[in-house]
């Protein structure tokens, strides 16, 4: 066991009795099991196929103590709010901040609350999802061992929650880690949209290790947005695991803009027939940023449809990894799966590794995939310049247009506008592109 792992285990021993739900035997056992598995397996290495292109040295070398949330540090979150999203749960260094949050009335028996609150008052609601680890992996184990809070969103049978629920995670403490754990449960026929949004106050590095579990009942619809805007010194590791029952739909959007090192594992499994999923993603990195998306669509049952649209823009010495794993089980006949990953390299020193991984064990299926890595199109640049646009303007315009095709898929207007503005603000020619948003 290396020193970092020992320190995490020691910290767990010291903190275990103080963690939320410590008095719940099933949860204590789950945490105990998780820290033991973590201690045994340690952090993934480059020899691990799923981590082949993402070195974890920067995370492994440091010990990040648990952030001790001081809710008073954050008095204002206005800059990050989405104006057409009335429900918001705000978390400061991983802990729920009621004074900054506002949850309007949801139709009973639906609920959106802090997970720590739910563990204190009605733990049986969370138990089915926390008792068993949703996925293997060191970071999920670490999260299970240390999770202190997060959002618990449950939507009752047949209830349609029209307005999105905004989960805002603000990190304020340099050198510390938080392990947000979110549960989103949509009962049969329910519909809900959740925005999971990570931001920072201050410029010091920190570590976010988030896990979000999503359960979509029969015919349910869950739309999940993950907006990663950590500061550029942060490490962000996040796992989104969805389980879908028959006829359900899960739409995922991952917008990865910040962090020095970001890894997003997004996985869904079709546990019933006729499920649908669309995974959208946009990563925009520069400097020495590193972003890794690892998506898995598990077509375990027949007649499932999946679509995947990922785009990346890389500048300077940035690096990106995209792995799109699609597994079609033997009896998952009539599966229809399509995956596309396009990458735009704005610099010679940027690097991208993109790999589709299709494992198909059924014979009556439709599966397609495509990946491109390229630069701005010379014909387009020339055309724009013959219309009087300066080269820099033309380049930024085409770069923006490349991202716009993913941004157009964002259905929450304020989030789309906000992301479009963010994209424009990153450009040298921001002033000239303002009219686009």
């Amino acid at each position: 066991m290396n020193e970092t792992i020992e320190r995490y285990v020691a910290e767990f021993r010291a903190q275990a009795t103080r963690l939320p739900g410590a008095r719940l035997p099933w949860l204590a056992a789950a945490r105990e099991g998780a820290i033991e598995r973590f201690a045994r397996q340690g952090f993934p290495t480059l020899r691990d196929e799923a981590w082949k292109y993402t070195a974890l040295g920067p995370i492994e070398k440091k010990v990040f103590p648990l952030a001790q949330a001081d809710l008073g540090k954050v008095s204002e979150v206005g800059a990050w709010l989405l104006e057409d999203v009335p429900h918001r749960l705000v978390f400061v260094d991983g802990r729920y901040a009621p004074a900054l949050s506002r949850v309007g009335a949801l139709p009973a028996p639906s609920l959106a609350d802090s997970l720590a609150e739910v563990l204190a008052r009605a733990p049986h609601l969370a138990e089915p999802y926390l008792r068993e680890a949703p996925a293997a992996g060191a970071f999920v184990e670490l999260n299970t061992a240390f999770m202190a809070d997060g959002a618990f969103v449950q939507v009752g049978e047949g209830v349609i929650v029209e307005e999105p629920i905004h989960l805002l995670f603000v990190s304020t403490t340099a050198g510390c880690v938080s392990h947000p754990r979110n549960l989103v449960v949509a009962a049969d026929g329910a519909a809900v949209t959740v925005v999971e949004h990570y931001v920072a106050l201050g410029g010091g590095g920190y570590f976010t290790n988030a896990v979000t579990q999503i359960a979509a009942g029969r015919g349910a619809r869950v739309e999940h947005y993950k907006v990663q805007q950590e500061n550029v010194k942060a490490f962000h590791i996040a796992t989104v695991v969805a389980r879908q029952e028959a006829g359900s739909r899960f739409d995922s959007h991952s917008l990865s803009l910040g962090a020095e090192l970001a890894r997003n594992d997004i996985a869904t499994r079709f546990d019933g027939t006729g499920c649908e999923t669309t995974l959208n993603g946009l990563y925009v990195v520069a400097g020495r940023q590193h972003v890794d998306h690892h998506t898995t669509i598990d077509h375990a049952r027949p007649r499932g449809t999946s679509r995947e649209f990922y785009r990346g823009i890389l500048d300077d010495r940035a690096r990106a990894v995209f792995t799109g794993r699609i597994v079609v089980h033997k009896d998952a006949q009539k599966t229809d799966a399509g995956q596309i990953n396009h990458n735009l390299l704005l610099s010679r020193d940027a690097e991208v590794d993109t790999r589709p991984q299709l494992e198909i064990y059924a014979d009556d299926v439709k599966c397609s995939h495509g990946a491109t890595v390229g630069q701005l199109d010379d014909n387009m640049l020339f055309y724009l310049r013959t219309r009087g646009l300066e080269e820099g303007h033309a380049r930024d315009l085409l770069t923006y247009a490349f991202a716009a095709e993913v941004l157009e898929r964002i259905r929450i207007r304020s989030l789309r506008n906000r992301t479009e503005r963010l994209m424009v603000e990153r450009m040298a020619e921001a002033e000239r592109l303002k009219e686009l948003v």
Partner: protein
């Protein structure tokens, strides 16, 4: 003063010489047609004049309004009043037509010392122009040329030309891919822009376009050189006798008539 003077222009693409000594003089108000078979260098000439970077002038001189045109960047040429209507207008997904049109108009107005147009002024201007080109307003909000039919693309080129009010318009195979109705609309658009200050170079393979856009001069390009110049009757003669007449050798007796 001549608007454009080309002297012994030689140009290469990917190290392969295409233009082998072009001489041309264009006065304000004139319309020059450049005809020639495939591969004669017509489009290369258009691209070199517009400033395409991978088309390199090897030698010769191009003076535009008395200035060295080849020393200007693509966008500087556009701002100085050169407009190229593309043979294959480029599709640009994600960039709306209205954004490009307004950015282009204002880039050029700014260069000319005119105040930039705000959104309202611009929309008034563009909608009036679109009406005359028989283009619906939905074109404004579609991505540039994306999914446009051949005719729609060419109309969009002429719309841009109308808005940018160039001094020198170069129309590269504007008739290609057009049915007769679309051709008439495009030609009307072009003709409405003819003026004593503005010159045009109309590049075409076929005589047909010149029935609608009547040139003052016709030049025949062959293997990178202008081999024959004349009035518009030259186009009719070419139509009748075919390019073999100009290219010589293979054309037998007819070739003798040229020399």
């Amino acid at each position: 003063m001549s608007l454009l003077t080309i002297k012994n222009l030689q140009a290469a693409v990917d190290g392969k010489q295409i233009l082998r000594g072009i001489d041309l003089d264009v006065q304000p108000g004139e319309v020059h047609a450049i005809m020639g078979p495939n591969g004669s260098g017509k489009s290369t000439l258009a691209q070199v004049l517009a400033g395409r970077e991978d088309y390199q002038a090897v030698s010769g001189e191009v003076l535009y309004q008395g200035k060295d045109l080849l020393a200007l960047s693509t966008e500087e040429r556009a701002r100085e009043g050169i407009f190229l209507a593309f043979q294959y207008p480029v599709e640009i997904p994600g960039v709306s037509n209205v954004y490009l049109l307004k950015a282009a108009v204002n880039a050029i107005r700014k260069h000319r010392g005119q105040p930039e147009l705000d959104a309202v002024e611009f929309l008034q201007l563009v909608k009036a122009r679109m009406k005359s080109m028989k283009m619906g307003e939905e074109f404004l909000y579609r991505s540039v040329n994306e999914g446009f039919s051949g005719g729609e693309k060419k109309r969009n080129e002429v719309l841009q030309m109308a808005l940018l009010e160039p001094r020198l318009a170069i129309l590269d195979e504007t008739d290609s891919g057009l049915d007769i109705d679309a051709l008439k609309i495009v030609a009307e658009g072009v003709n409405s822009l003819r003026s004593p200050e503005r010159a045009m170079i109309v590049i075409t393979h076929y005589q047909r376009l010149l029935e609608y856009i009547v040139p003052d001069y016709v030049h025949v390009l062959s293997r990178g050189r202008i081999v024959k110049s004349g009035g518009r009757e030259l186009a009719l003669e070419l139509e009748e006798k075919g390019y073999a007449w100009i290219e010589g050798g293979k054309a037998g007796a007819a070739a003798g008539a040229v020399r």
